[in-house]
Amino acid sequence: MNLYSLVIEPLHYEFMIRALTTTVLAAIVCALLSCWLILVGWSLMGDAVSHAVLPGVVIAYIAGIPFAAGALVFGFIAVAAIGILRGTSRIKEDAAIGIVFTTLFALGLVLISTTPSHTDLNHIIFGNILGVSTSDLQQVALLAVIAFAVLIAKRRDLTLYAFDPTHAYAIGLSPRALGALLLALLALTTVVALQVVGVILVVAMLIIPGATAHLLTDRFNRMLLIAPIMSALSSVLGIYLSYWLDASSGGLVVLVQGVVFTVVYLFSPSHGLIAKTRQHRRTNDQWKQHSAEAQVP
């Protein structure tokens, strides 16, 4: 086996080209969005929304309308239901999220099982990247471009929303509108990533890249570069691995991202575990030295 047969040969297959293109598009948009999600503290919400869109996607499939429309509607239904449950009962937020998203996800499963020819729909749950059709790719590309453009154009507002919504309010902006925008982008992006890893693993692509980048830099603009690049590279590697090993593509895409995160978590020069331990030890030593000197009469 040589490099050619490993890397170039798979590209002779059109399905691999489509798979890689779709993956890179999805990885980039998910990674961008993840930078805000982890800073707003919406990881759990991302998990919830990405599961809760399932019935929306199934209904859209049955009705023959774009998946994104169904996903958006159910994304908002989920968030509204969580908010209402938390605001009008003694149920805490994490429980409210757990109840709402599992119920909606279950509704999606039931709908799938009662829909004739539901093999396509099973792909929504586990992803089917190696079976992406040209029209799937077109839909993903369109959504990805929209989400990308909005995220970049509104990046400063979204960062303000994540950092200090009260200040946004104080200067006459609407944190509520910005929150809704972020939510809509979350639902859109979920649809983009569904194709690659499926509903169950989407949340990984929506959290891991941002978290990884956050461990590498103190500059938000740099996070917006690091996250998509790392995510795209790891996802491409995941797809190749799945081709070589003939194993779950969605699983490998996420697994590679998780491994990259672990490496960064351990070895990041600024915020990694090892660097931090070393720093800590250094300050401790200095501290001991200081107190030793101070004790000299």
């Binding site: 800073l39 154009a153 509104k154 990046r155 400063r156 507002d157 960062t159 303000l160 994540a162 950092f163 200090d164 009260t166 200040h167 946004a168 309010y169 104080a170 200067i171 006459g172 902006l173 956050h214 830099t217 103190d218 500059r219 938000f220 740099r222 996070m223």
Partner: protein, 246 residues
């Protein structure tokens, strides 16, 4: 002259909890006012009501004669959050934060102009942080953190500054830097309203004090506010007892 902040008969309710009861007060431009009260007395609630984040069930608030909504649109209100409300690991620099004061003046994507950058640099200089612009906000001392948010208010052009507990976790020397800065801003015509537990700094800091415990117990000169009979009203009887036993 129009008061900077005016509240008339403001009552605020959170479900069954009455946080503010019939609060009326006036705070003027060109002054520093200390808002004193124990935990849960309603200080943060009063700030939220002034900003329009919380709607009173009764009464009205006006800022420079305007409704809170209008005042927000005009960028009159600068807000320095309580430390616990800020994510200090957030990947923004001091300069980024101060630039957020300019957003209301900027276009759809909030792309800063060179005029914006100049205003930001001036604000940084004003609070003495000109050499700290590119620091991540978590890498500042407690006092520098507060000054960053004051600079944001200045870049915003706010002339009413609300500071919630700015001295919590700030050492004495940074505290006096902040006190001096706020005094200067008041002398230039800003209205500064500060909630604080720190009674010792009050005489140097504030022209007036407001004692709050659900409703206004006292508003007037600091020296009078600090009289034991007034403080014992605001904090319960513990202070008087503590002082007598000393």
């Amino acid at each position: 002259m129009t008061s900077a902040i005016r509240a008339d008969g403001v009552t605020v309710q959170y479900g069954d909890v009455r946080a503010l009861e019939d609060v009326s007060l006036g705070v003027e431009f060109g002054s520093v006012t200390g808002l004193i009260g124990m935990n849960g007395s309603g200080k943060s609630t009063l700030f939220k009501t002034i900003m329009g984040l919380t709607r009173p069930v009764q009464g009205t608030v006006s800022i420079n004669g305007r409704t809170p909504t209008q005042a927000r649109k005009e960028g009159l209100l600068g807000y320095v959050p309580q430390s616990e409300d800020v994510d200090w690991t957030f990947p923004v620099s001091v300069r980024d934060v101060v630039m957020m004061g300019r957003y209301a003046y900027q276009g759809f994507t909030r792309k800063p102009t060179s005029a914006d950058r100049q205003v930001v640099e001036q604000a940084l200089e004003r609070v003495g942080l000109q050499t700290f612009g590119s620091r991540q906000i978590g890498q500042l001392s407690g006092g520098q953190k507060k000054r960053t948010f004051v600079a944001r208010g200045l870049a915003q052009g706010a002339n009413v500054l609300l500071l919630d507990e700015p001295f919590a976790g700030v050492d004495k020397s940074s505290e006096s830097t902040i006190v001096q800065l706020l005094r200067e801003l008041a002398d230039e015509g800003h209205c500064v309203l500060i909630s604080t537990h720190d009674l010792h700094a009050l005489p140097q800091l504030a022209d007036e004090a407001i004692l709050l415990l659900q409703s206004i117990l006292f508003q007037g000169p600091v020296a009078d506010a600090l009289r034991p009979e007034n403080l014992s009203l605001a904090f319960g009887l513990d202070i008087r007892r503590a002082e007598e036993s000393e």
